[in-house]
Each structure stands twice: as structure tokens, then as C-alpha cells.
């Protein structure tokens, strides 16, 4: 067994530098790597390119990095929950690349899996396809999309073991598994870090080979964006 455990969030993020490209898991505020984001704020690294489906909200998630102007560019599919984001984008301080959600997921998976490029129908005929190669297969048009290149991927899992194996929970899974191994270094934070042998090998969502550093996270806030209930 190859041990991936690091003792602290500081050790987990060692090597993160200004100008790097980062992947961050999560959908909305669900399944985001809260501890890694806090540490990025503390490190105050600047000029970051962040690949993440969303950009957090004011005061939480990636909103914390936006507030400190650490992000140069966001690559996302949906960014509509954040006034500071909107201000920076409209003023031109922040560069934004919006791409279809399925394309975002698959560009991560392509990087994880060693595929340089693939053809997808999403965005054909729209501004998303401008400047990109398009091609017909079986009478339907597709756009050529490329694997992402990133320096660090930060993911959040429910359970993990010291070999780096990960299990996610509910819809907090989302982009997290697809980002594992999709960057030069993958850092996983987990709610529960267990000794090797604690997880059923049949139920592991992401084998440890895709994870380079794993650490026990703490103080998860797990904020709910749209609390919606019905009456009993």
C-alpha cells in the first residue's frame, strides 16, 4: 500500500503558487473542498485560474477567493449566485470562460484518463463552438473539445483511507471523482480518514492511484444554498 496521508492542510497545499491553474470539486456549495479553499485564502496566492462548475457565493466557497481578488480567471458552467463575481466580471477584472456542464465534466475526465480530445454535441451552433473544430458523425454535428491541464485538483470526499481511496456521499459527489488525477497533483480532503482496510474494495468510487495527498478535514460548515422544504 502506498500511503498518501499528509498531516495537515498546510502540507496538503504545499507547492501551490501564484498563477497556477486549479480544479475544485463541488456543485453549488455541495461537496466543495472547504478546508483547501480556506488554506488558499490563507496562502493568499494570486492570479489563479479556477476550474469549478460554480464560483461560490458572496462570503463562502470560491466567493472567499474572489473577495480577496486571488482569481484571475474562472472556468465554469454557471456563476449566477455571487454579486462580487458579477462586479469583477463586468468591470473586466475577472476573466470568465463559460462552458457547458457536461463538457466541463468530460474535459476533467479526459485529463484523468489520458484522452487529449473528444467530440461532443454540446454547444454546436452557439458561441461556445466559435473558433473550435466541428465535425459531422452519422448526420449530427459535434464540437472538438480538449482535456484540461491543471496544476492542482482539490476534491472533497465523505470517507477516505490512507491509500487515497475515496467514497463520496449523495450529490456531493458531482465533479469530485472526475477531477481526481486530472491535475498534476490531486489533494483530497475527507470528512473521515480511515486506516487502510476499512473500506470495502468493491465500494470505492475513486481508487487511491488518482489521489496524491489525502488529509482529514475539519469544521465542515456545509452551507445550504436553497433550503427548500415541504410541510408535514
Amino acid at each position: 500500500m502506498i500511503n498518501k496521508k499528509v498531516a495537515s492542510v498546510e502540507a496538503a497545499l504545499s507547492g501551490v503558487e501564484d498563477g497556477m491553474t486549479l480544479m475544485l470539486g463541488g456543485f453549488g456549495l455541495s461537496g466543495i473542498p472547504e478546508n483547501s479553499i480556506s488554506q488558499l485564502v490563507k496562502l493568499n496566492v494570486k492570479g489563479l485560474t479556477c476550474i469549478s462548475n460554480n464560483a461560490g457565493v458572496d462570503g463562502f466557497g470560491l466567493g472567499l477567493l474572489l473577495h480577496k481578488r486571488q482569481i484571475k480567471k474562472m472556468v465554469s458552467s454557471y456563476v449566477g449566485e455571487n454579486a462580487e463575481f458579477e462586479r469583477q466580471m463586468l468591470s473586466g477584472e475577472l476573466e470568465v470562460e463559460l462552458i457547458p456542464q457536461g463538457t466541463l465534466a468530460e474535459r476533467c475526465r479526459a485529463a484523468q484518463s489520458g484522452f487529449p480530445a473528444f467530440y461532443t454535441p454540446a454547444g454546436y451552433g452557439t458561441e461556445v463552438a466559435e473558433g473550435k473544430e466541428t465535425r459531422e458523425f452519422n448526420g449530427k454535428m459535434y464540437v472538438l473539445e480538449h482535456a484540461f491541464k491543471a496544476d492542482f485538483a482539490f476534491v472533497k470526499a465523505w470517507k477516505g483511507d490512507e491509500a487515497g481511496n475515496l467514497i463520496f456521499k449523495g450529490t456531493a459527489r458531482n465533479f469530485n471523482p472526475n477531477m481526481c488525477g486530472a491535475a498534476k497533483i490531486t489533494v483530497a480532503e475527507v470528512e473521515e480518514l480511515l486506516p487502510v482496510g476499512s473500506l470495502d474494495p468493491n465500494q470505492i468510487h475513486i481508487p487511491g492511484i488518482f489521489v496524491h495527498r489525502i488529509f482529514q478535514g475539519s469544521n465542515y460548515e456545509k452551507r445550504i444554498e436553497q433550503r427548500t422544504v415541504r410541510k408535514k
Binding site: 456543485f27 455541495s30 456542464q101 457536461g102 463538457t103 452557439t126 458561441e127 450529490t171 459527489r173 410541510k231
Partner: protein
């Protein structure tokens, strides 16, 4: 009288057939789940990674690790499954999801749809909408027939940046049910009490009216 949101959702619910996997967009489409017949088998997919989505949780039972694509807290029904985003879009792109219901700002008479961006004003992003409209074989748009200024949303040609080309099959608005055909918007049904003339006035794109147009049965 023009339908309200629930009326539109109620009419669309009739398009949901036995054995369908359905993806519901944010807004009016979300309401459709409330009106689907209970005697048919249907499963709802949400692109953030759940199949077999159930109703909202009871107060106190919200789970931050269980949300839908609108970031609302939800529940999972027996037989549900969770999966990652790549697999979720495998379901969508691979046409395993049978029906996509989503909102729109504009639909053109050739089936083009625009619903993700108003340049210089609103730039929230397309989320999963571009994958959905590029992939789904059956796309129903739920929207009001005109915008807040009273301008038609059923156009000859979309003025806003497109989400997808030639993909919309059916439109249900507060005024009418229309099918997108090679010749233009074919009027199928009127909202109860709404005249064909009212629909004509509210439709900029080419409207095809064959025979008498029945009222919706909702």
C-alpha cells in the same frame, strides 16, 4: 385566461409518459413533478448526480449532501442512485433521458433556443442546458408567451446568444401549446378562454393554424 405557472406545469405534465426518465430545468419545469399522473412509472434525473429524485424534504430533514441542479434540498426515492457529473451527462448525451423540460428566453420558428445569456446584462452561464438541448430527442420548452415588456418570445430568429440549434420540439406557454415544424410554430391548443387572435398577436414567428384549435384539457 392566460395560465399561471402551475397551469403551464400541469399541461406539460400530460406529456410525461409511462417509463420516461425526465430532466426538469429550474423554474416552471420543476413544478411539473407535482402534476405527473400517479399511475405511471416516471423517474426524475437531476444533472448534478441523482436519478430517482423525490419531493422536497420535511423541515429538519434537509441534507446539504442531497440537492438538485437548482441547489434546492431534495429527497431520494426508493430505487434512486447517485453518480458523478461525467456519468450524469452520459445519461443525457447518450439519450437515456427521454424528455427534457426547460425554460427559455426565446425560441425561434426553426427550433433554436436562447436561455443562458443577455450580453452585457445577465451572464450566469448555461449550466447543463447546452448538453441537454444538444442531446435530447424530446425537448419541451416551458415559458410565458411574451416577456415583461409584452414582446413575443416566439420569434422568427433568436436575438440572444443561442443555447442550441433546431432542437425544440414543443412549447407550452401561458397562452398555447405549439409544435415546432419545418414550416414554423404549429398551434395545437389554446389556454382556456384564450382566443386564437390573442395568440397570433403574441407570436412574432410564423404561426400555422390548421382547422379549429381546441382548448387545453387541464
Amino acid at each position: 385566461m392566460a395560465l399561471d405557472k402551475n397551469g403551464i406545469a400541469k399541461r406539460i405534465a400530460k406529456e410525461v409518459k409511462n417509463g420516461y426518465y425526465v430532466n426538469l430545468g429550474i423554474g416552471i419545469p420543476t413544478l411539473v413533478a407535482n402534476f405527473v399522473r400517479e399511475d405511471i412509472e416516471v423517474e426524475f434525473q437531476s444533472e448534478n448526480g441523482v436519478l430517482g429524485m423525490g419531493p422536497f424534504p420535511f423541515e429538519g430533514e434537509e441534507d446539504p449532501d442531497l440537492i438538485n441542479a437548482g441547489k434546492q434540498t431534495i429527497t431520494a426515492l426508493p430505487g434512486a442512485s447517485f453518480f458523478d457529473s461525467a456519468m450524469s451527462f452520459s445519461m443525457i448525451r447518450g439519450q437515456h433521458v427521454h424528455l427534457t423540460i426547460l425554460g427559455a428566453m426565446e425560441v425561434a420558428e426553426n427550433g433554436d433556443i436562447a436561455n443562458w445569456k443577455i450580453p452585457g446584462y445577465m451572464v450566469k452561464g448555461m449550466g447543463g442546458a447546452m448538453d441537454l438541448v444538444a442531446s435530447a430527442e424530446n425537448i419541451i420548452v416551458a415559458m410565458t408567451h411574451t416577456n415583461k415588456n409584452g414582446d413575443s418570445k416566439l420569434l422568427k430568429k433568436c436575438s440572444l446568444p443561442l443555447t442550441g440549434v433546431g432542437c425544440v420540439k414543443k412549447i407550452v406557454t401561458d397562452l398555447a401549446v405549439l409544435e415546432v415544424t419545418p414550416e414554423g410554430f404549429k398551434l395545437l391548443e389554446r389556454a382556456p378562454g384564450v382566443s386564437v387572435e390573442t395568440i397570433k398577436q403574441a407570436t412574432e414567428g410564423k404561426l400555422i393554424i390548421e382547422r379549429d384549435i381546441p382548448e387545453m384539457d387541464i
